[in-house]
Amino acid sequence: MKQWSLLLWLYALLVVGLPLAGLFNAFLYSVGLAGPLATGFTARYWQQLPGETSLLASLGFSLYVAVVSVGLAIAIALFLVLRHQAALRRRPFPTLLYVPLLFPSLVMAFYLFQLLSGSGWLARMAYQLHLIQSPDGFPELIQDGAGIGILLAQVGLAFPFFTLLFQSLYVDARLDDLRSLTRTLGASGWQFNRRVAIPILIRRAAPTLVLYGVAVLGAYDIPLLLGRNYPQMLSLFITTKLQRFDLSDLPMGYLIGCLFTLVLMAVIYVTTRWTQRHAL
């Protein structure tokens, strides 16, 4: 029993202690108490934070990508689960849904880069078919202002996962039986979906959906390959501060990283509490 207790503490040290120590170290960087050029306590970097206008653009763009991509993926998954139950149970469709889950996000990003770039497969085909006059004529689908490439990659990875999740919850909650019951009470299919099925599926899946959204918010490799230099997603913005040529940028990079982590932890905590209180 004692051995198990020790193992548990060791696990706690690894998953909580060390990340918290890292966070504390980042805080020390941000107040000039750690780092290669640290000269003692200073609030300078915190005071300079409001002047980081690119940070706001970065935050806004990251939220936009997270909300839109997770929202679209949820909509597609709900559509498939609620409107195409028969197809979802028929092979090979369920197996096909697992295929994108095997792709690391970098592979998905690279695949879309090859497919959709100005010199990609689709552009070349369109050019050969005389649909466009030159490769420039192909619409910008990656490294574009609206982040379409990033959204496509994120939705492509997320919707199969959400579909499998909702499908499992659908069976678990016996929604087919509930559907029959509401029909006998005179509800339409749309009313059942809107008032019964969607609330049940969303609330039960909420913690997973939020965690997925947080992961998208912190995505690195997909926006690195498919995004623009400006606005950048937050992880790229922070990495740029930490890995470029100016060591005096390090405290600001750590400060933003530290705040980002704290905000995400708060979001996860609040959402988890909320979903527990309103669980169905």
């Binding site: 020790l6 690195l224 040529f245």
Partner: protein, 406 residues
């Protein structure tokens, strides 16, 4: 009680991690070369370097590693990493009072500048190395790194110059000078862009010096007035040209490899390299078309050297010095300079070499797609002080990239 146990365990863990002793740099450097050879034999050496080129990786893995093992019994372990990553690793180790996990690192001027800021290098070391006698440290492209005298604190390894690369089948007459570049870009929209990284910043520095017409302005310490005047001129020109850049200048490749990919796919007509001979390497690999050519636009581009730094708190500094000394041996430099191996220009002064080596350097297989070194030596600018790079990188983001939105 459990909490006490956890704290005790953590303390034990930390103590266990910090038991290795740090060695006094003066004692290491006071040894004779014979003593260094003796102490460095049969040791492991950890080298951190950029691993982005298959030719370079092959040179290290298939030639250097077996050679140092054969000569000294050294187990050379190579890990990927560069620039700020090296600096941050060393800074963190120093804060933790740990000896370094690294013994040596492949560095460039901006990392040299950062490592000097944190006192991360062991030295002077070159005066210890027998093969350093073949290097002409009075050559300003070798003995001075980003306007900082090397003073033995890093070991020159190779010398390169920024080159423009184009596809001669698609571009009949590339712009032969920075002065011709704006007209060319306007006449060929969507074909030109600048990578937002080290090579891109080297282009901006070269462009800035070219516009000023006086390379001497950029020698010596950083000058705010010079920077403001000539970076402003470059940014004005780029912002005027942006509508004619790739993707209308709304975005720029974040990495040189991305630009190489765009060039290989034919999406842009130009890419660049900090190694004037890289085009041969990429054509030989089949990555660039055989019609790719490299050249240096007038009045010139930046030429610089890259170096090996021995880490101040290295655990195997003697072995690292043996490896560095081998890397600057005539044999290893000759092999590296061969365009079919790597094509990295030597840092050795040919006239200082033993008589039997001089003709071998002079009769190396010639570059087929890159310009001859003799032809571009007159078009070489010295690297300006590192602050130019730091400032250009920041200002390129705020005054060019983000200017789209402002």
């Amino acid at each position: 009680m459990n909490l006490v146990r956890l704290i005790l365990f953590s303390t034990l863990l930390c103590t266990a991690c910090s038991t290795s002793e740090q060695r006094d740099p003066a004692t290491i450097l006071n040894q004779s070369w014979a003593q260094i050879e003796q102490a460095g034999k049969d040791q492991p050496v950890t080298l951190l370097m950029w691993l982005g080129d298959p030719y370079i990786n092959d040179y290290m893995n298939k030639y250097v590693k077996p050679e140092v093992r054969k000569r000294y019994g050294i187990d050379l372990q190579i890990s990927g990493g560069q620039g700020a990553q090296i600096v941050q690793t060393l800074a963190a180790e120093r804060e933790a009072g740990q000896p370094s996990q690294l013994d040596m690192a492949w560095i460039n001027g901006e990392t040299f500048y950062q490592l000097r800021q944190i006192d991360g290098l062991l030295g002077p070391v070159t005066e210890k190395m027998p093969n350093a006698r073949f290097i002409d440290f009075t050559n300003p492209f070798i003995g001075v790194d980003f306007q900082q005298p090397v003073n033995g604190m890093e070991v020159p390894w190779g010398n390169v110059q920024l080159a423009f690369i184009y596809d001669s089948q698609k571009v009949a007459q590339p712009p032969r000078s920075f002065a011709e570049l704006p007209a060319y870009v306007k006449a060929h929209p969507g074909q030109f862009t600048i990578p937002n990284e080290f090579t891109g910043m080297t282009i901006l520095k070269s462009w800035m010096i070219a516009l000023s017409g006086d390379p001497k302005l950029f020698q010596g310490k950083f000058r705010e007035d010079v920077y403001e005047k000539w970076s402003g001129a470059v940014f004005r020109q780029i912002n005027e040209l942006k509508p004619y850049f790739w993707k209308r200048g709304e975005t720029f490749p974040e990495q040189l490899s991305t630009l190489h990919q765009l060039f290989a796919n034919g999406e842009v007509a130009f890419t660049f390299s900090n190694n004037d001979a890289e085009v041969d390497n990429k054509v030989n690999l089949g990555f660039f078309p055989k019609t790719a050519r490299a050249y240096v636009p007038a009045p010139g581009t930046i030429q610089n050297s890259h170096y090996m730094g021995i880490i101040r708190n290295a655990q195997h500094p003697e072995a690292a010095m043996l490896v560095a000394n081998f890397l600057i041996s005539p044999e290893a430099q000759l092999k590296k300079m061969d365009p079919t191996v790597w094509g990295d220009h030597t840092v050795l002064a040919i006239n200082k070499l033993p008589a039997d080596y001089q003709p071998r350097f002079n009769t190396l297989p010639t570059r087929r797609y890159a310009p001859k070194r003799d032809a571009i030596q007159g078009l070489a600018f010295q690297e300006p002080a590192p602050e130019y790079m730091v400032r250009l990188y920041k200002d390129f983001r705020t005054k060019v990239i983000e200017a789209n939105e402002n």
